[in-house]
Symmetry: C2
Subunit: 151 residues, 2 copies
DNA sequence: TTAATTTCTAAACCTAACTTTAGGTCAAGG
DNA sequence: CCTTGACCTAAAGTTAGGTTTAGAAATTAA
């Protein structure tokens, strides 16, 4: 409730390590909603430090910003995650992570079977399994990722 | 040596599943170097099917196109990998993959230790370890990835 | 021989997640 | 009061890995 509860964007930047421009960008993406002081400058609560920390951690787990926004939006009153919220969320993050690890480990197993084979035959080689490709826009040939080109 | 050894870009596209535009793009990135017929059209060898297969597989291992180019460039005569080359290369790819898996597994271990904690304190939380961040341009706050912004 | 495919180049566009820039406003210290 | 330094917005730029488009030339099929 004290005056120092209200952080400027620069102060929040220092506390979280995020660039000021990144914080504004997250706002544009609907991840955080500060209010404004009479002069039009953004003012944040202390809880927003945790909110942004959550965003950064969730990114490490491979969530996109829209996905993170949804997780946050599902919290009652769109609040910053409490320890109780965090418990539920982290179980989901773990599933996310497990899947990524699993995919990579299968790839590794296949590689072990292929060392020395060198066939690189696309129809036959277990190493080339499009189903296992990490799905992401902007990386890797999209054609093979289920997004066929026009011609 | 027969005439059918010389593939057009469309034929190569069908054999590899890559879009024609992707093949041209790889050429611009120095991953493949076809010669031209009298009319100026690209002509490829059969070995180029394997070369592109290698590119696709290496991408799954998380190598960037410049990295793949270097691997290929290290081969004598910049040739397409033979089974012998492949053996050496695949041992390197495995190390690459092991590291990625290791990073994710450490993240998972930390998450397990944190479920129910919910502190989300950046200075203290093991979940927030910038060293473990996947390094990639265009994703994630660059500031924390060692690429400090101007202001 | 003509029509239909392919192919060619160069440049613009796409996504995600930001950063940079330009031109102006606000706030705090001396 | 005045000068910094922090902040504001909107738009454009960045990166990787491609795709799309436009207009022209080559090739193939009928």
């Amino acid at each position: 409730m004290a005056v120092r509860e209200r952080l400027s964007i620069g102060a929040l930047s220092k506390r979280t390590g995020l660039a000021v421009s990144a914080i504004r960008y997250y706002e544009a993406q609907g991840l955080i909603s500060p209010w404004r002081n009479p002069g039009g400058q953004r003012r944040y609560q202390r809880a927003d430090i945790r909110r942004l920390s959550f965003v950064m951690i969730a990114q490490q787990f491979g969530l996109t910003l829209p996905e993170i926004r949804e997780v946050l939006a599902d919290l009652p009153g769109n609040r910053t995650p409490t320890p109780q919220d965090w418990k539920k969320i982290s179980i989901n993050l773990r599933a996310h992570l497990d899947q990524r690890i699993d995919t990579l480990m299968r790839l590794r197993d296949n590689l072990d079977g292929c060392i020395g084979c060198g066939c690189l035959s696309l129809p036959k080689c277990a190493l080339y399994n499009p189903d296992d490709r990490a799905k992401s826009y902007g990386s890797g040939p999209r054609y093979l990722m289920g997004d066929a080109p026009k011609t």
